[in-house]
């Protein structure tokens, strides 16, 4: 047992659901107790999704404990098949079904006989993998299923597309700025004259998965989702993949050069150097920013980076290599990928922290006292407590991290966004300090007050206590309303009764 208040990566089934519900017309059925469908709330709220989240639950209740699920799972699958005609139904195990050890594979096989759509059991074990690993695995599983299906039917397309083309693998629902990143990558590919073959899983149709081998190469922008699929496609079809995250000016260039190499090996004869040069010097403002005096002022400032592997690595490199900021500690909660993480960041920071324990990360930040933090929502709150500004660079995130405005982290526009994020975090901190040193905004004492807080009315002790229970941000208003009410009625002793009579009268 582990005492935990907070977790960075969610449970395995969340990963499976993220992949399943990213596809078009794929339905996931969770084998879970009542209340485990919180995923639907998150998707509906955070993504502000207009459509019903295609996830339902085959409920595990007391009866299931006693007698097993029996026909229930099969019935739920066939029912959903009839109601919504999905192309694929993914039966998703949860922590509960992991221990019940029912033969879910058997249910899937039986349901398949009656269903028009395909039925698949997500191969994830709650106790072995987390959200990110499960997502990677489920995507691989679905791709493999449809490639093999096409192969069996003999309708797997032969050969590559005429012009150089790419599959973008790993864009998913509830991913950190995924939609914006996807748009940016599509633009980037268009600029390079590379056709988009397929984008998976977001918005993809499972029947198109058989076309994946037609691409010249696969691009996997995020370390956490898509690598398994890319490796599988390489092994099966020899499709090379590029797994350099194009985040930051240097890494974007490195990614593009790798793409150039991969394409030229297949006889494309492309040269992106001119494009990279033009973009770096004149389109992205990040390179210019690094020369400007604004950035000069940041030289040697201390920062701490924490997040998923992709974003923490990229951010560390950007801060250290492109802005001259001193990254004291870089860390990730992707423990399973620790080796890669270390290898990537060790030359750009003093120490590396691999941990899932938010208290350990909080303590590290308190010890180092950086001028700015780049982390998840958890680090943002640590920063709040310690008065250190924080830029959010990775999940877990809140609704404000799903902006409607265009805010990619990848590609050349991404470099601009990151520049703003970094610069704003640091200047906010600086302004704060300057204010402190020079004694705040107003050094003169305020002599007159527009709205007097003092009052001629007498509050009883009980009423005062009751007033103090009211949250601070509305307390003043309630006090004023109550006193106004009392004055109008010539009451000069304010009791709890008067307080609530006032509330009823004002109607708020």
């Amino acid at each position: 047992m582990k005492l935990a208040y907070w977790m960075y990566a969610g449970p395995a089934h969340i990963g499976t659901l993220r992949v399943a519900s990213s596809f078009k017309n794929v339905h996931a059925i969770m084998h879970a107790p009542l209340g485990d469908d919180y995923f639907n709330v998150m998707r509906s709220m955070l993504e502000r999704e207009r459509d019903f989240t295609p996830v339902t639950t085959s409920i595990v209740d007391r009866h299931v404990l006693a007698r097993g699920s029996q026909e229930r799972v099969v019935d739920n699958i066939t029912r959903k098949d009839k109601e919504e005609h999905p192309d694929l139904i993914v039966l998703t195990p949860t922590c509960t079904s992991s221990i019940l050890q029912e033969d879910l594979q058997n249910f899937v096989e039986r349901a398949q006989i009656e269903s028009k759509g395909d039925v698949l059991l997500a191969d994830v074990n709650h106790y072995r993998v987390n959200e990110l690993q499960a997502a990677d695995r489920t995507l691989h599983q679905i791709v493999q299923y449809y490639i093999e299906k096409a192969r069996k039917k003999g309708n797997l397309p032969e050969g590559k597309t005429e012009k150089p083309s790419v599959n973008i693998i790993g864009i998913s629902t509830l991913g950190f700025h995924n939609h914006h990143d996807c748009t940016e990558l599509k633009r980037l590919m268009a600029d390079l004259g590379i056709e988009i073959n397929e984008i998976i899983p977001e918005g993809a149709c499972v029947h198109n998965l058989k076309n994946l081998p037609k691409a010249w190469f696969n691009l996997v922008p995020y370390r956490e989702l898509g690598l398994m699929t890319a490796r599988y496609l390489e092994q099966e079809f020899g499709t090379p993949f590029v797994d350099i995250t194009p985040m930051g000016v240097v890494e974007t260039a490195r990614c593009l050069r790798k793409i150039q190499q991969v394409l030229n090996e297949q006889g494309a004869e492309v040269d992106y150097e001119e494009f990279i040069n033009e973009q770096t010097l004149h389109v992205s403002q990040a390179a210019w920013f690094s020369r400007s005096i604004d950035c000069q002022n940041l030289t040697g400032k201390k920062a701490v980076v924490f997040g998923d592997a992709t974003h923490a690595v990229a951010m560390t490199k950007i801060l250290a290599r492109e802005m001259g900021i001193h990254v004291v500690c870089a860390g990730t909660y992707c423990k399973y990928d620790a080796e890669w993480f270390r290898e990537q960041v060790s030359e750009y920071c003093d120490e590396v922290l691999i941990s899932e324990d938010n208290a350990e990360i909080g303590n590290m930040i308190a010890r180092i006292e950086p001028s700015a933090i780049f982390g998840t929502q958890m680090e943002r709150h640590v920063g709040k407590r310690l008065d250190i500004p924080c830029g959010v660079i990775a999940a877990p995130v809140h609704i404000q991290n799903f902006p409607i405005g265009y805010k990619p982290f990848l590609g050349y526009e991404g470099t601009n966004q990151i520049t703003d994020l970094v610069y704003n975090s640091f200047t906010l901190g600086m302004e704060d300090h300057l204010l402190e040193i020079f004694g705040g905004h107003d050094t003169k004492e305020v002599i007159t007050k527009g709205v007097s807080e003092a009052s001629d009315l007498n509050w009883t002790k009980e009423a005062q206590t009751e007033l103090n229970k009211i949250p601070g941000f509305v307390r003043g208003k309630i006090k004023r309303n109550t006193e106004k009410f009392a004055r109008e009625r010539n009451i000069n002793q304010i009791t709890i009764e008067v307080m609530y009579a006032a509330k009823e009268a004002v109607g708020a």
């Binding site: 582990k2 208040y5 509906s44 019903f52 709040k384 877990p396 009764e497």
Partner: protein
């Protein structure tokens, strides 16, 4: 059954139970705030933790007095010893937080692996010297607010059965009185006592924010009824005294287990009243309490009338409109009854679980309200099926759907007004004073529509996408 009969009696149906609601462990979110010296330990998996972390939102960063005892593979396969593991964690909690009580929340996983929490608790309690209350608030058996019910039912057993007598010799008067009125002079106490009618002690149960406690206590005080204690109290150490023969009355509709714990385990008499939600409910609640305790209620009719008058601007917005409850928090019957009295119609009340005995008076008031308002009685659907409900919503086109967050945005995108049901659980909705707050919530989407009308942005999904 003739048509007339069908219209005058309530219809109960039961569907498949495929509906969205919060897991009952969510009760820790409001209970740890209510019981200030408690610590809630949820013994479950990452799934439970993930839910709480996301459902509690920003509260999670305020160093809440709750934590997960996250079960690992070794716990499931019993390679690790439950008792030792729990002891280690509880000692850590004692060291870091020093609470007056640790509440263990049993989850689906502890049920399935049959971890004997009720058996382990007394042993560990004796060893570490902190009371441990066990509540099985799991998704296998319960929905959302029923979590509070399991916790309160477990706590009923912990209420002292006699007033503390320790300092009785020091004080000339009654020790309880002394405690309750501590610091006050004798004549003040006497004056205060004279405000109450003599009646058997009354304990109220249900966790409501402190201001609501004050408001409801004062409402009863106006009738001369004295509230001897609230379950739960602000602190675990202040749990009310419960003696055999006391009266107990619930303020929330989801507290059936707590009610039976009061009756069966503590031999209390239960006052089965409608719940004090809306001015009609509050008046019925007070009247029932008064009638049981032999007190003549006074001025209630005028008071109710006065509240209704103050609501008139909101009533104008909803009169004649229809409301559909998808059902997820068990407040549905009371809210529907109030809204029907406000002049709305209600084709369907979905509800996770319907205790016809505990909610008896509430159901009777609902029926009476429908009759008096001349509207058909709603169908009450227990364990609803959300998919079927959405089809019925498309057909009925209600003016307002009260639903969970999973369905709210998709329905809004289809031009159907929604109100997020969870807000009713967290807002102050009890008593005369807060009737306006309920309508504030209910009318919000309608007022939003008034400001957005004529923009032609009702339906924002593309039809027939496949």
């Amino acid at each position: 059954m003739t048509l007339a009969q069908a219209e005058s009696t309530l219809n109960f149906e039961c569907e498949t139970g495929n509906y969205h609601t919060f897991c009952p462990i969510s009760c820790v979110a409001w209970l740890y705030q209510k019981i200030e010296d408690s610590f809630f330990l949820v013994i479950g998996t990452k799934t439970c933790g993930y839910f709480l972390q996301n459902a509690m939102g920003v509260m999670i960063f305020a160093e809440p007095r709750y934590a997960m005892a996250e079960l690992e593979e070794g716990d499931i396969s019993a390679q690790l010893n439950d008792y030792n593991e729990l002891k280690r964690l509880c000692e850590q909690i004692k060291r870091d937080r020093n609470p007056s009580v640790i509440v263990w929340i049993g989850t689906c996983t502890t049920e399935i692996i049959k971890m004997d929490l009720e058996g382990l608790a007394p042993k560990l309690e004796a060893e570490i010297g902190i009371p441990i209350v066990t509540a099985r608030a799991n998704g296998l058996d319960y929905a959302f607010t029923q979590g509070e019910d399991t916790v309160l039912a477990a706590m009923v057993a912990r209420c002292p059965d006699k007033a503390p007598v320790a300092d009785v010799e020091k004080n000339e008067g009654n020790a309880i009185q002394k405690l309750l009125n501590f610091g006050k002079k004798k004549e003040e106490i006497a004056a205060e006592e004279s405000e109450f009618v003599k009646h058997p002690p009354l304990v109220l149960f249900g966790s409501v924010p402190d201001p609501v406690v004050t408001q409801l206590t004062l409402e009863l005080k106006k009738q001369g009824v004295k509230v001897s204690g609230w379950m739960p109290s602000k602190r675990y150490t202040e749990l009310p005294v419960v003696e055999e023969g006391y009266y107990a009355c619930g303020v929330n509709p989801f507290l059936s287990r707590t009610a039976s714990a009061f009756m069966r385990r503590r031999k209390c008499k239960l006052i089965g009243a409608a719940f004090p939600i809306g001015p009609d409910g509050t008046r019925a609640w007070i009247e029932k309490i008064c009638s049981v305790l032999g007190v003549e209620p006074k001025g209630l009719e005028e008071r109710e009338q006065q509240i209704w008058e103050s609501l008139e601007d909101y009533l104008q917005l909803i009169r004649g409109k229809s409301v559909f409850f998808m059902g997820d928090n068990l407040l549905e019957i009371s809210l529907a009854r109030f809204l029907i009295r406000c002049g709305m119609t209600c084709p369907e009340i979905g509800i996770p679980y319907m205790d016809k005995r505990y909610q008896g008076a509430e159901l009777a008031l609902l029926e009476k309200t429908c009759l008096e308002m001349g509207v058909p009685v709603p169908r009450i659907v227990e364990k609803p099926d959300n998919y079927n409900q959405v089809q019925r919503i498309y057909e009925l086109k209600p003016d307002l759907v009260i639903t969970g967050m999973a369905h709210a945005n998709p329905l809004e995108a289809r031009g159907i007004n929604t109100k997020w049901s969870v807000e009713f659980t967290f807002a102050q909705i009890h008593g005369f004073t807060n009737a306006r707050d309920i309508l504030e919530l209910v009318t919000r989407p309608l007022r939003r529509n008034n400001s957005l009308k004529d923009l032609g942005w009702d339906k924002l999904v593309k039809e027939a996408k496949v």
